[in-house]
Structures are given as structure tokens and as C-alpha cells.
């Protein structure tokens, strides 16, 4: 009886300790990069256990990234993707890994696939376009994941916008990425123009002008030298839209 009571007491003590640990883990969890099933599965077999165990995550992520370059040189799509995704999973807060993985997936891999199928002369243009688009979509998925893990890094969002523009020829999708980049705290000055240009080229000329004008009046005008380049672009849009003088942005004292 006493023996069973002791076992029960010890089991309860371990359980209570576990519950305390759970409470502490909830507080600590926010400081550790997220790692879900989606991130772990592609990393299996890449020898990254030590990185997941704790410590050395950055170092192992760097080593994995170096190994991925060997696969990149050999045009080994599966190995390259696996290793690059592993580096991203190990250090999900580094912009560098997400951005370059997205670039490799979206820009390089379609070319590898075309060469593997016999080269540009053998593969029809239609299939080539299909491959470019399918890999670009994969690249965009990587950028999306990267933006999520880095708290909406504007560099990653601008890269996504460029890919949507260049590879998918989808100006409106590109504009949506650029717009997200402008909404981040450290948005680069040129992201506003990129967004307005994509909307404009996507056929939404009036919306583009209205949005760009709003941004210039509310944000860009008050920054540094009042963003004269952006005002110049806005003047071009006003002329193209043949806006009456009263609907245009009032002439600035410093304007040429």
C-alpha cells in the first residue's frame, strides 16, 4: 500500500512539474522561432537534428545553405530545394534565406527543368511558359512564408512583387505585394512608385493615381526633400488622365 502511494505521489509530482514547465514554456515560446510540421518534414534526413535540439541553429543553417550551393551548381533541383528549405526552417527569421530560396525556386529551377527536358529548342514555348509560371508560383509561396516569419519584411515582399511582375506577368498581383511592402514600418521609398506603376500597368489607372496621391500627401510629402521624384510621376499620371487643374495636386513652391 505504502509502495503504491509512493509511486502515485512521485507520478503526481512529475505531472505537477510538467504543468509548471508547460506554463513556463508558454512564456518562453515567443522567443523561439516557430517550427511546425510543414517546416520540419522537408528537412528530414538533412542532418539538422542538432540544430533543432537547441543552440547552433544559425551555424547549422549557414552550413546547410553552403551545402545547397553545391546542389545549385549541379542543378540538382530536389537536393537544392530540400537544403534551402532546411536553412529557412532552421533560421526562419533571416530574410536572406527566404529571399534567395524564393529567387532560386522562381527564377532558376524552370530553366533547369527545360534543360533537363532537352533544352529551349526542343521544349515548346507553351510548355516553357507553363514551367516558368509554375515555378514562379512556388517561389511566391516561399516569399509568402518568408514574409510571415519575418514579420512582413518589405525586402521579401518587393521580391515577391518583382516575381509576380516578371514571371507571372500579373501586374495586379505584383501591386498587392508592393502595397503590403509600403505598409511596413521600414518601407523603402521606391516601393510606393512600384505599387503605383504596377496598378497603372495593370489597367487600374485611376485607382493607381488616387492611391499614389494619397500616399504622397499623407506620407511622402513630409519625408526628407518631399519626394520630388514621386511628385514628378504623379504629374505624369495627371497629364495622362487629363485631370482638370483643380483636381490635380496643388503646385508646390519648390516644384520646377
Amino acid at each position: 500500500m505504502v509502495r503504491w502511494l509512493t509511486v502515485l505521489l512521485v507520478a503526481s509530482a512529475i505531472f505537477v512539474a510538467g504543468c509548471f514547465a508547460e506554463n513556463s514554456w508558454r512564456l518562453v515560446r515567443t522567443s523561439i522561432p516557430e517550427m511546425g510540421r510543414k517546416q520540419i518534414e522537408p528537412t528530414l534526413g538533412q542532418g539538422v537534428l542538432l540544430g533543432i535540439l537547441g543552440g547552433l541553429r544559425t551555424v547549422i543553417a549557414d552550413g546547410t545553405w553552403l551545402r545547397s550551393y553545391v546542389a545549385w551548381e549541379k542543378r540538382d533541383r530536389a537536393a537544392c530545394e530540400g537544403l534551402m528549405r532546411t536553412a529557412c526552417a532552421l533560421d526562419p527569421r533571416a530574410r536572406y534565406f527566404w529571399e534567395n530560396t524564393g529567387y532560386v525556386m522562381g527564377y532558376d529551377m524552370a530553366h533547369w527543368e527545360i534543360r533537363r527536358r532537352g533544352g529551349y529548342a526542343k521544349v515548346s514555348q507553351e510548355i516553357q511558359d507553363g514551367l516558368f509560371k509554375s515555378y514562379a508560383r512556388k517561389g511566391l509561396e516561399i516569399f509568402e512564408d518568408g514574409a510571415k516569419h519575418t514579420g512582413g519584411n518589405p525586402g521579401i515582399l518587393i521580391s515577391a512583387g518583382q516575381m509576380a511582375e516578371i514571371k507571372l506577368k500579373d501586374n495586379l498581383l505584383a501591386a498587392s505585394y508592393y502595397k503590403r511592402a509600403t505598409e511596413s514600418a521600414n518601407a523603402p521609398w521606391f516601393s510606393y512608385f512600384l505599387c503605383a506603376r504596377s496598378l497603372w500597368e495593370g489597367g487600374q489607372k485611376k485607382e493607381s493615381y488616387a492611391w499614389y496621391r494619397k500616399q504622397w500627401l499623407e506620407k511622402l510629402k513630409g519625408v526628407g526633400d518631399s519626394s520630388p521624384d514621386d511628385l514628378e510621376h504623379l504629374r505624369y499620371m495627371e497629364a495622362e488622365l487629363s485631370l482638370p487643374v483643380l483636381q490635380r495636386i496643388p503646385r508646390q513652391t519648390w516644384e520646377k
Binding site: T6, V10, A13, I14, F15, V16, A17, G18, C19, F20, A21, E22, N23, S24, W25, L27, V28, T30, S31, I32, E34, M35, G36, R37, I40, L50, I52, L53, G54, G55, L56, R57, T58, V59, D62, G63, W65, L66, D91, A94, R95, Y96, F97
Partner: protein, 282 residues
């Protein structure tokens, strides 16, 4: 009563002192502390291998990783070795024949080992703190010259990390003692201890991946839920880079909660070790 406690504490401290002296003279300890110190000092030289992180993050991760890895090996081997050496050399028999209880013996062993681990952790963290502080000063000067925002470094965060790692190693030492108290051989204790450490370090992954999976059945999820409360979560002590380089990302009270959790684990595991050792034939 007070006198009895005082005498018991004196006997425990005496065993701890002997254990400490025995452990600190071990070549294995000297080898690992030198190896880890070399790794920590050389971390700055390896920074060219870094891609896209802050330079200090790389240095910190390199150093913390070394402390974590070699600290775990040292704890596993040293705790089991010191425990089994007493039994195999029959010194435990002599000791326990005197008015020394088995609880005092275990508590003394643990305290001695933990003190040596404290020297290991605090020496290495001090060296790492110096290396990081030196590089931080250079980076601040470079950033100021280039008009950029200098990187952050919290020395108190490095100290908090040292405390958490010391507690983590304490939990591992208590875990190995609990296993050793029932194990028949040194090798068995080491292997099972290493597996327990691995499970403790990886149990958060099980929480992240399996417990959130809605496809799993209720029975399996309940079993996993129970397992995650029984196996100590050792990952909760690994927030060194956040503490040193990005204190704002650490939730208020996280260090205290992790410390309290570590202390509770140590006490519970030592009680478990004591119960296992109570009936053991020596």
C-alpha cells in the same frame, strides 16, 4: 531537530565537497572546458561563414551552441561516472555504513556535480560575454561611422542565459542520477540518459507538430499530452540569443518561470532518484 538538520547538511556538504574535488580534477572536465573555450573564442573568426544574420547573432549562436552541446555531454558522462565510481570502487559501501543516509549521499553527489557544472557554464559564458562585448564595441563604432543603427547586446541577458543553462544542466544531472540509481551499469545510464536528454530537447517539436494535428485521434493526442507533461521540456532554457540580442522578444517573467520550472524538476527528479536508490543493493 535543528541539530539533526545541521548535521545532515554538514554530511551532505562534505560529500558534495569530495565529489566536487574529484570531478574538477578529471581530465575529461579539463578537456571539455578547454575545447568549449576554444570554440567560444574562435566564434569571431568563423563569422565569415555567416549569411544574412547580425554578426553578433552568429557569434552568440556559435558560443551558446558550444556551451549547450559540450555542457550536455559533460553532465551526462560526469554524473554517471562519479556515481558508478563510488559503487564499483566500493567506497559507497564504506560511506553508507557510516551514519550517512542514501538521501544525503545522492544530494551530496548532485550538489558536487552541479557546482562543477556551474564553473563550466559561468567560465564559458564569461568568456563568451567578453568576446561578444569586444565585437559589439567594434560594431557600434563601425555603425556610428556609417550612420547606421548599432546592434543591441544585453550583458545581463548573457548572464540570465548562463543561469538558465546551469539550471538545464542541473535538470539533466538530476535525471541521470535518477536513472543511475536504478541502472546496473554505467553504459546503460549513459545511453538512457542521452535518450532522455534527446527526448527532453525534442518534446516541444512533438507539441508543435503532433498535438496541433487535428487528424490524430483523441486517445493518441491524450497520450501525447501526458507524455509532454512527464518528459521535462529542456528547450525552455534555450533562449540565449533572444536574451542577449533581442530582449524585447522575451516575455516578462519568462526567465523566472523557466528558472522555477527548472528548480521544480531538479527537486522532483532528485526525489525520484532517492526512491530508486533507497532499495538498491550496493
Amino acid at each position: 531537530m535543528r541539530n539533526l538538520i545541521k548535521q545532515s547538511l554538514r554530511r551532505t556538504a562534505w560529500i558534495a565537497r569530495i565529489t566536487f574535488l574529484e570531478a574538477i580534477r578529471q581530465r575529461f572536465f579539463a578537456f571539455l572546458i578547454l575545447l568549449s573555450a576554444a570554440l567560444v573564442v574562435s566564434s569571431v573568426s568563423f563569422r565569415f561563414l555567416d549569411f544574412g544574420h547580425g554578426e553578433l547573432k552568429f557569434v552568440a549562436d556559435f558560443g551558446f551552441g558550444g556551451v549547450f552541446f559540450f555542457g550536455s555531454i559533460l553532465t551526462l558522462v560526469m554524473t554517471a561516472q562519479l556515481f558508478f565510481a563510488e559503487i564499483e570502487n566500493r567506497t559507497a559501501l564504506t560511506l553508507l555504513a557510516k551514519p550517512v543516509s542514501r538521501w544525503e549521499f545522492l544530494a551530496g553527489k548532485f550538489t558536487g556535480v552541479w557546482a562543477v557544472l556551474g564553473i563550466f557554464i559561468f567560465t564559458l559564458t564569461f568568456i563568451l560575454g567578453l568576446v561578444m562585448w569586444g565585437r559589439h564595441q567594434e560594431l557600434v563604432a563601425l555603425a556610428e561611422a556609417a550612420g547606421r543603427v548599432p546592434p543591441d547586446l544585453s550583458i545581463s541577458g548573457v548572464a540570465a542565459y548562463a543561469l538558465l543553462q546551469w539550471l538545464r544542466l542541473g535538470v539533466i544531472a538530476a535525471m541521470v542520477l535518477a536513472i543511475s540509481s536504478v541502472a546496473r551499469s554505467f553504459l546503460f545510464a549513459i545511453v538512457v540518459g542521452a535518450m532522455a536528454v534527446l527526448a527532453g530537447q525534442l518534446q516541444w517539436i512533438a507539441q508543435e507538430t503532433l498535438l496541433k494535428d487535428k487528424d490524430l485521434g483523441v486517445v493518441y493526442q491524450s497520450f501525447l499530452w501526458l507524455i509532454t507533461r512527464v518528459i521535462p521540456n529542456l528547450q525552455q532554457f534555450n533562449i540565449g540569443d533572444a536574451l542577449a540580442l533581442d530582449v524585447s522578444s522575451v516575455t516578462n517573467g519568462a526567465v523566472w518561470a523557466a528558472s522555477l520550472s527548472g528548480c521544480i524538476y531538479i527537486i522532483v527528479l532528485l526525489v525520484l532518484a532517492g526512491l530508486g536508490f533507497r532499495r538498491r543493493e550496493i
